[in-house]
């Protein structure tokens, strides 16, 4: 049985102070361990939150630092140039598998076999249905929602939508549809489902996906529980047809717009939300304005910016994604 890993050793790793070979060895050991893994992974998350809050409030506890003490804020950490690590094939570690590993592995395997499959598990974390599922309230869409969209709605004759823009509009409208269906708003459900179907009609091979949405439109008014699986099916069909990443990003952005309209701060604190919006901040396909807007709305204390400001940023982002 291997020696337990000391807290200071874990701290060295978290501080990036180990030579590369030792770092790789320790990471491999932790990735296959039990409680030491939990301490390592959770301490990292706790440190991130603590360091973010310290950098925001600018309060620090100072002691006489050792000469090699590093800057603690993550933003100041230079990207460490990594030499190619040695091959660390350690099937032996993973070969010793306590029973608890089976549950972990099963969860992991399910997540990996997604997103289509994961989406089916009632608003899974990766599919186009996920963002709406995270909204705290199951109210209908705000009054007048959809009368004006952030994206340019009128295109010149013969000026087709780009595939990315179409995918984004499908994603955003899917979120609206999920909200409407969840609230039992039959009129909005029917309208939105037909709108998505019309978008998919223009997509090569879009017939089956469009049909799925039209079938949903025909069932508008049924209980939300009855529409949940058909909604997921339609979303899966659309995501497999269009640019799935763009569709999902727009779905998150639209959900965030709804959350901002409802002042749903919890939505913005969810790690899934922050991760989804933070991706947009790094998307080189978006304009600088859109990336900056995404960076602002994916930060740790978004609500402090004020809801009107958040809404403007989200509109900017969605306009960039969907135009």
């Amino acid at each position: 049985m291997s020696e337990p890993i000391s807290d200071e050793r874990i701290a060295e790793l978290l501080d990036g102070r180990l030579p590369e070979a030792e770092r790789q060895e320790l990471l491999a050991r932790l990735a296959a361990s039990g409680e030491d893994w939990s301490v390592f992974a959770e301490a990292g998350g706790v440190l991130r939150e603590a360091e973010e809050s310290e950098s925001e409030t600018e309060t620090e506890i100072r002691i006489d630092p050792p000469p090699a003490e590093r800057e603690r804020t993550i933003a100041a950490v230079p990207a460490t140039p990594r030499q190619e690590p040695p091959s660390v094939r350690q099937p032996g570690r993973w070969g010793r598998r306590p029973a608890r590993w089976m549950a972990l592995a099963a969860v992991l395997a399910l997540a990996v076999l997604g997103p289509v499959l994961w989406t089916r598990s009632r608003g899974g974390a990766e599919g186009p249905g996920a963002p709406a599922a995270l909204l705290a309230s199951r109210d209908a869409l705000p009054a007048g929602w959809g009368d004006e969209r952030p994206w340019e709605s009128s295109l010149g004759a013969g000026d087709p939508l780009s595939p990315g823009a179409r995918a984004a509009r499908v994603g955003a409208l899917h979120t609206d549809l999920a909200v409407a269906a969840g609230a039992g708003d039959a009129a909005a459900t029917s309208r939105l489902a037909n709108e998505i179907a019309a978008l998919l009609d223009a997509e090569p091979g879009g017939g089956p996906a469009a049909t799925a949405y039209r079938q949903l439109a025909a069932r508008a008014g049924e209980p939300a529980s009855a529409l949940r699986d058909p909604l997921d099916d339609a979303g899966d069909a659309a995501a497999s047809l269009v640019d799935g990443e763009r569709m999902t990003l727009a779905a998150w952005t639209e959900a965030a717009r709804i959350a901002a309209a409802r002042q749903d701060a919890a939505f913005f604190r969810a790690s899934a939300t922050r991760d989804a919006l933070a991706r947009a901040a790094e998307d080189s396909g978006l304009s600088a304005d859109a990336r900056q807007a995404a960076a602002r709305v994916s930060g740790p204390n978004v609500a402090a910016a004020g809801w009107p400001s958040i809404t403007r940023d989200l509109d900017t982002l969605l306009r960039a994604i969907a135009s």
Partner: protein, 257 residues
């Protein structure tokens, strides 16, 4: 400035940090109120006990704050194990955020009914959502086996096990298939680089955020999004090549949750 060679002075200088880290750890793990206060006291005691042994053992190879945070987190796991046995949030709850984690803990760990859990959360000012809204969130969470034999709650129905010979054979076949599935997964994981193993376990096994994992690995956050997606793709291909499907994995969850 406190004397770096005086453990008591270092403790006093870092007391606010220890309290902050203890508080964050509690909140992240759905521990609050009196329980959180109890743990914070325990965390401070951990550093003080045996004449500040924790600080005297510190060799300066890491940042003292990082070291103390690690000590606090380990003490937290020890304390929760003493108090609740082995418990952690589901990956789904981690992804859904704080409210989902709190609900899951109150119902599955602490044994509250869903209605009682809703009242607790509202009375503590952690949400203003209605019972119906919280029930919808709860419905998105995976079913859990009762913890410490506490009473089950709506909407979790349990079917009494049937000890028929047919079910024994079925269970053995499922178990066997499950082990085959996990062999595929573990073989694929074993050949990954250690950083990638950490990412896969943290991101997909436990639902940890990319931001957290970036701090864990002390690396830039932005490239991790693509990297984790790529890793997921590699694992998925490995499982698909081996003919593993979602139903196979769900059966495993049913066996081992």
């Amino acid at each position: 400035m406190p004397d770096a060679t005086d453990p008591r002075a270092l403790f006093e200088a870092h007391r606010p940090w220890i309290q902050k880290v203890a508080g964050i750890t509690c909140r992240r793990n759905s521990v609050w109120g009196d329980d959180a206060e109890d743990f914070t006291s325990l965390a401070l005691m951990k550093v003080v006990e045996n004449d500040f042994a924790v600080i005297r053992q510190f060799q300066g190879r890491a940042d003292l704050k990082t070291y103390l945070a690690t000590v606090v987190v380990r003490r937290f796991y020890e304390w929760t194990r003493e108090r609740w046995g082995r418990w952690r949030h589901s990956a789904r709850a981690e992804q859904m955020g704080e409210l989902a984690r709190d609900l899951e803990a109150l119902v599955h760990r602490d044994g509250y009914t869903l209605r009682e859990a809703a009242e607790v959360l509202r009375s503590r000012g952690r949400t203003e959502a209605s019972d119906a809204e919280l029930a919808r969130i709860f419905a998105e969470l995976p079913a859990r086996t009762p913890h410490h034999g506490k009473a089950q709650t709506e909407p979790l129905d349990r079917v009494e096990s049937d000890d028929s010979p047919e079910r024994d054979v079925e269970a053995r076949e499922t178990e066997s298939r499950c082990r085959e599935v996990m062999d595929v997964l573990f073989r694929a994981l074993a050949v990954m680089q250690p950083e990638d193993q950490v990412l896969v376990r943290g991101r997909y096994g436990e639902g940890r955020s990319v931001a957290d994992l970036a701090r864990v690995l002390k690396t830039e956050q932005a490239p991790l999004y693509r990297r984790t997606e790529k890793l997921k793709g590699e694992l998925r291909q490995a499982m698909e090549r081996a003919g593993v499907g979602r139903d196979d994995v769900r059966d495993c969850l049913g066996l081992h949750e």
